[in-house]
């Protein structure tokens, strides 16, 4: 049997509706992402019911657009991949239902992809040589994980956040500073002209008791308190400085834990992934600290860091190549485990 080579990926796990066509798990032929940011703005956060409604409205046109841009027909496809968790259940169900119906209609094998695994696979679309075993740091609005991967589909979680995800904290701080949503890119930009030592924010779980786990609720509370205090005193907050100091506190921990993991596990490859992986400071610092002659740090271009279907298609390609196909009772699993 020939290996599946052109895969259609679907991604609807949160508030982005995305469809992509990927060749051989490596080459992005198209990657359409329809963001819902504007829809949720006036609610100050993502409203699951509104996200689900929007996914249903636009998923099929988004698929058509991905097919057209890739210049392929349904008959050219050799598989369908969809992320079925973790995420918002109502959102996931739209993508999963459409993917199953398409796979059935077109007699194509179906792959159920773990969304976090998908983020890691965005790195396989960079053209870099990636060998196993490898380490990965996945940081986004929903997750903060250090992962060890022995081969395709063999993932172990070495560290996770005990409270807030790193990206979530960026969003909350941005909201407190009235910087809009999502918060990551604005804070990244402001921080470039700030002084990271202007505020002293805590770095949590840095001792041996923390292992490779993270905790960001402490730094969040400290930053929110500083904002409150400055406002109480009627002082104008220096957005550059507070962004810089806050970002440094988060990045210090991410980078140190990554360094620790790399020292524990002897790997040639360290992958950075997830929405926060678009942060320029994190990229630079991780390269400085973790990259050695033996270990190469790889990260995807910014458009492949945030939620997208190309990464899902890439992960799905390797799943299908292993013969790991999903059946038509594939369900959306909001807290899908990576290690299953």
């Amino acid at each position: 049997m020939p290996h599946p080579s052109i895969i259609l990926g679907l991604e609807t796990s949160c508030d982005d509706t995305s469809a992509a066509v990927v060749l051989d798990g490596r080459t992005v032929l198209s990657n359409i992402v329809s963001s819902q940011d504007n829809l949720h703005l006036r609610f100050g956060g993502i409203v699951p019911e509104i996200a689900s409604r929007r996914h249903l409205e636009i998923i099929n046109p988004v698929i058509d657009e991905a097919m057209a841009q890739a210049r392929v027909k349904f008959t050219d496809l050799e598989g369908i991949a969809v992320s079925h968790g973790p995420g918002l259940v109502g959102s996931l169900l739209v993508g999963v239902s459409v993917a199953k119906a398409l796979a059935f209609s077109l007699d194509l094998p179906l792959a159920g992809v773990n969304h976090i695994e998908g983020h890691l696979y965005a790195n396989f679309l960079t053209g870099e040589d990636i060998s196993f075993p490898l380490l990965g740091l996945v940081v986004s609005g929903g997750h903060t994980n250090i992962l060890y991967m022995e081969g395709h589909g063999r993932i172990r979680i070495l560290g996770r956040t005990r409270d807030d995800a790193a990206g979530e904290v960026f969003d909350k701080i941005a909201r407190a500073l009235d910087l809009g949503f999502p918060g990551g890119p604005v804070i990244d930009k402001l921080a470039r002209e700030g002084d990271p030592s202007s505020f002293a924010f805590p770095r949590a779980l840095m001792g041996p008791e923390g292992g490779l786990d993270f905790s960001f609720s402490g730094v969040k509370t400290a930053v929110l308190n500083s904002i409150y205090r400055e406002r109480q005193r009627g002082r104008e907050i220096d957005l550059h400085n507070i962004s810089s100091a806050f970002q440094a506190a988060v990045i210090d921990v991410l980078v140190e834990k990554s360094f620790l993991a790399a020292r524990q596990k002897n790997v040639k490859i360290f992958l950075l992934a997830g929405g926060v992986a678009a942060n320029s400071e994190l990229r630079a610092r991780l390269r400085q600290r973790v990259e050695t002659e033996e270990t190469k740090v790889i990260f995807p271009p910014p458009e492949l860091c945030t939620d997208n279907a190309a990464m899902v298609a890439a992960a799905g390609y390797y799943r299908l190549r292993r013969g790991n196909t999903a059946s038509y009772d594939l369900n959306a699993v909001p807290s899908l485990s990576l290690e299953g």
């Binding site: 409203v47 019911e49 249903l56 698929i63 459409v98 369900n331």
Partner: protein, 237 residues
């Protein structure tokens, strides 16, 4: 004209296949498993049982609400995926219309009730007849009191149907007395055969909906949207 019908708007997962005036097959389950796990396997089994290849399908009719928001979306997303993959047209059937089909023989009024939560039902009154049930107004979400007032205003016998009947049965019977009656349980289920029946009739009259233009019929706004509007109204006053 061979159509596939889907209804997952309540706890019932139902799929049916047939031509005009002829049901070929129907699979209806009312179990604890989620629609997401039941629906596609049911479609596959339905076609296999009927000995039909999916490429023979000429159209899809889907119950597009009102009902459970998630149920509506699973049915519609599946129907849309099938229509897109098979390159065939689709159309929607309103769930209350389909339920009324199950009681089309009634001499008085027909009133389907679907659970709308918050002590309300999605409902609509129909008059039975040989041309199929005729709606007496737009579908809406009503409280029990509003429903009783409406029924009394019509001043006619009413046969109630639908999955929310159990919630209001006692009070409706007490309030309406001899004008109250209810459909037997097999006619109260949201069965795809009923969607198929109505779907075929509509298809002849108005045809399918242009691609991607079928809208889910939620009736209600999302909770967050409703609250935001109430807040704004409060601020204006």
């Amino acid at each position: 004209m061979l159509l596939l019908a889907i209804d997952t708007t309540t706890t019932v997962c139902s799929v049916a296949l047939g031509e005009k005036d002829k049901l070929w097959a129907e699979i209806t389950t009312n179990t604890k498993k989620t629609h997401s796990q039941r629906l596609m396997p049911a479609v596959q089994a339905l076609l296999r049982e009927a000995g039909v290849d999916k490429k023979q399908l000429q159209g899809i009719v889907v119950a597009h609400g009102p009902g459970s928001f998630t149920g509506i979306r699973i049915g519609m997303a599946t129907a849309q995926g099938l229509a897109q993959g098979l390159d065939i047209p689709m159309a929607g059937v309103m769930t209350l219309d389909a339920l009324a089909e199950g009681c089309a023989f009634a001499s008085g009024l027909i009133c389907p009730l679907l659970d709308a939560r918050r002590e309300q039902v999605y409902t609509c009154f129909y008059r039975g007849g040989t041309r199929g049930p005729q709606a007496m107004g737009p579908p809406e979400a009503l409280s029990l009191d509003e429903l009783i007032t409406k029924a009394k205003d019509f001043g006619d016998d009413v046969i109630f149907t639908g999955d929310a009947l159990g919630l209001f049965r006692k009070k409706l019977r007490a309030a309406l007395g001899t004008s109250y009656s209810e459909a037997p349980f097999a006619s109260r289920l949201n069965r795809a055969a009923l969607v198929l029946q109505k779907g075929h009739r509509d298809w002849e009259k108005v045809g399918p909906v242009p691609a991607y233009e079928l809208k889910p019929f939620y009736i209600r706004l999302p909770e967050a949207e409703r609250r935001l509007r109430e807040q704004r109204r409060g601020q204006k006053e």
